[in-house]
Amino acid sequence: MNKALTSLNTFFLILLFLSLIFSMFSVPNLDIDETQSIKVNFYELIQQDDILFDSPAPTTPMKKETKKTSAINEKTNIDETAIISRFNINKLDVKNEITKIKLSKEREGVLRVSAIIQERISSIWIKPNSLSESLIAKVLINLAPSGEILNFNLIEPSSNTSFNESILTAMNKMTFFEEVLSLERNLFEKNFRNFNLVFKSSGEIE
């Protein structure tokens, strides 16, 4: 009996392990690190952005956006059924593939808006000169769906007062991140309602 239980436990452990392995390959790469954070590199993104997006981001109001999205979803469902009936393939596989595509599109949206935010902050942040110090400070931003900055908070200041002050000065210059208007509401809620800006100084002369 004990042996059977042990085998069962081992089986479940292997199952769990395999599920984790599968999860790694079954979703698009979201650049999730150990602390489960999405990190965005602006310079890569600008290049990706050029390739990924042929047309500029829509800036139409949120309501129209939602209608448009539901129409797309409807069309996707029809396509899904048609594909399944035509090729008689596993419905679950198709659903997974569609999930992957949706996630990929979400990722593109998040990356695009992140890149714009990154560029806007970079253009107003007057970084103090701190040659030999590598500094990091983290600011938590609370946004309204309109893009208005409701609040920001230096949650992890660096050891350098001037560096912290320069960040607060830059943040005080910003009032809106209206770029989030181009995102679906659920994407906004998931990613931009609260997000972090991580200011870094490499300690190198630039």
């Binding site: 107003i124 007057i126 490499s202």
Partner: protein, 427 residues
């Protein structure tokens, strides 16, 4: 089934624990814009001290190109106290900081009482408030003190407007002058004039003396000159020639180059007991020593590997370490005030430029874009490098801030200017 479960597990865990993080690595190339409002004067006080002081502060703050100013005629108001100060008047003009002040009183002895404030417009807060008393015939000195405080508040670095510069002017083929001046070029003093070359000036840590090399007696000889009395003493170390003196951070000894039978090596010279201690002993040329800020190490140039490269020697253990490997010319090394990086002259394809290197890194960063740069010296706050360079045959002093945002040249002197040495801060 497993795949679906695992995907669900992943999505749930992701949505519960993750928060988007956007990294900001690059800052703006723009400069902070500062409004220097003419200082107000309490009624009944004569003279235009108010505008004199604000103009001096403005000149100081703009000296190294680190800030942008707002012209006085573009200002919407001229407040002299916090009660008259409205942030919107400055925000609308894109100002980042505003400096205001007032001459409150002048007493019978000619002492001015001055108050001043600094505002961060974007944060809508007063970040500095001060009061200073100084003589009316020392407006420049008072302005420098206020400028230093403002600079320190904005940048977090020590203010350097009361520092000085030593340099050598070669006014014609046969005249060399050892000079010092304020860092803005004013109040120039000629310490010594010679028909023979003068080189390698270096300030004592207390700013009271300067050591330099003079060829007035035919051979390279080190002199120490007292700035107050003007007295000069040759240190008369042993050997054929003595050169490249550099004061230790405690001011008790000099690192220098002594050449016995034509082979230059690095020595330490104790000023009190006039003893020489040998640091290097190599058939190659060892020269241009300089102390680390903690006095434990000395950087020097040596051609022991076949080309001039920088080395570091521990003054106690005498253990040596090569610091540069890139290129076939790296010389005249100096430590940054924090001791973590060095700057030096880097030669590449016949161009000689000022470069920096973190001691923890193997990479060299070239700072300047001119081609015949030499003798770099750093501001005591570690933020600006001044170096000698050439425009045709004429030598002048160029400067650069370490963030690379500002490049400038110092006022042209009557002759070729070489060998700049930035003084330490007044303690």
């Amino acid at each position: 089934m497993i795949r679906s479960l695992s995907l669900l597990f992943f999505l749930v865990s992701n949505s519960i624990f993750s928060i988007l993080e956007i990294e900001i690595l690059k800052g703006s190339d723009n400069l902070s814009k500062v409004a220097f409002v003419p200082f107000g004067i309490e009624s009944g006080i004569e003279g235009n001290y108010g505008s004199q002081i604000s103009k001096n502060i403005e000149k100081n703050m703009l000296l190294f190109g680190e800030f942008e100013n707002l012209a006085v005629n573009e200002m919407l108001s001229y407040p002299s106290s916090e009660n008259d100060f409205y942030y919107r008047d400055w925000k609308v003009l894109g100002v980042d900081y505003s400096v205001i002040g007032k001459i409150n009183s002048v007493n019978a002895l000619g002492n001015l009482n001055i108050s001043y404030s600094l505002f961060n417009i974007n944060r809508r807060i007063k970040i500095l408030e001060g009061e200073i008393v100084g003589r009316e015939d020392n407006i420049e000195g008072i302005s420098k003190i206020i400028s230093n405080r403002i600079y320190e508040e904005i940048t977090g670095l020590r203010g350097i407007f009361d520092t000085k510069l030593a340099y050598v002017i070669n006014s014609d083929a046969d005249t060399y002058q050892m000079c010092i001046s304020d860092i803005d070029g004013k109040n120039e003093q000629i310490l010594f004039t010679s028909k023979a070359p003068i080189m390698s000036p270096d300030w004592s840590p207390d700013r009271k003396k300067i050591a330099y090399v003079s060829f007035e007696n035919g051979l390279a000889e080190i002199f120490i000159q007292d700035l107050q009395s003007g007295e000069r003493d040759s240190i008369q170390a042993l050997g054929m020639t003595n050169s490249a003196p550099v004061w230790s951070p405690d001011g008790r000894s000099l690192a220098l180059v002594v050449s016995f039978s034509g082979n230059p090596d690095i020595f330490l010279y104790s000023i009190n007991n006039k003893r020489l201690i040998r640091l290097t002993n190599h058939y190659g040329i060892d020269t241009e020593p300089s102390w680390s800020p903690d006095s434990k190490k000395i950087i020097f140039t040596s051609d022991r590997s076949g080309s001039p490269q920088l080395y570091e020697i521990n003054t106690k253990s005498k253990r040596k370490k090569r610091l540069t490997k890139d290129g076939n010319y790296n010389a005249r090394g100096r430590y940054f005030p924090d001791g973590k990086s060095i700057f030096f002259v880097h030669g590449n394809d016949g161009n000689f430029q000022i470069a920096t290197k973190k001691l923890s890194s193997r990479y060299i960063e070239t700072l300047t874009s001119t081609s015949l740069d030499e003798s770099p010296t750093i501001s005591p706050n570690g933020n600006i490098i001044i170096y000698a360079t050439k425009d045709g045959s004429n030598g002048y002093l160029g400067g650069i801030t370490l963030d690379g945002k500002s490049r400038f040249s110092l006022p042209v002197k009557n002759g070729s200017v070489r060998e700049p040495a930035w003084s330490p801060l007044l303690n």
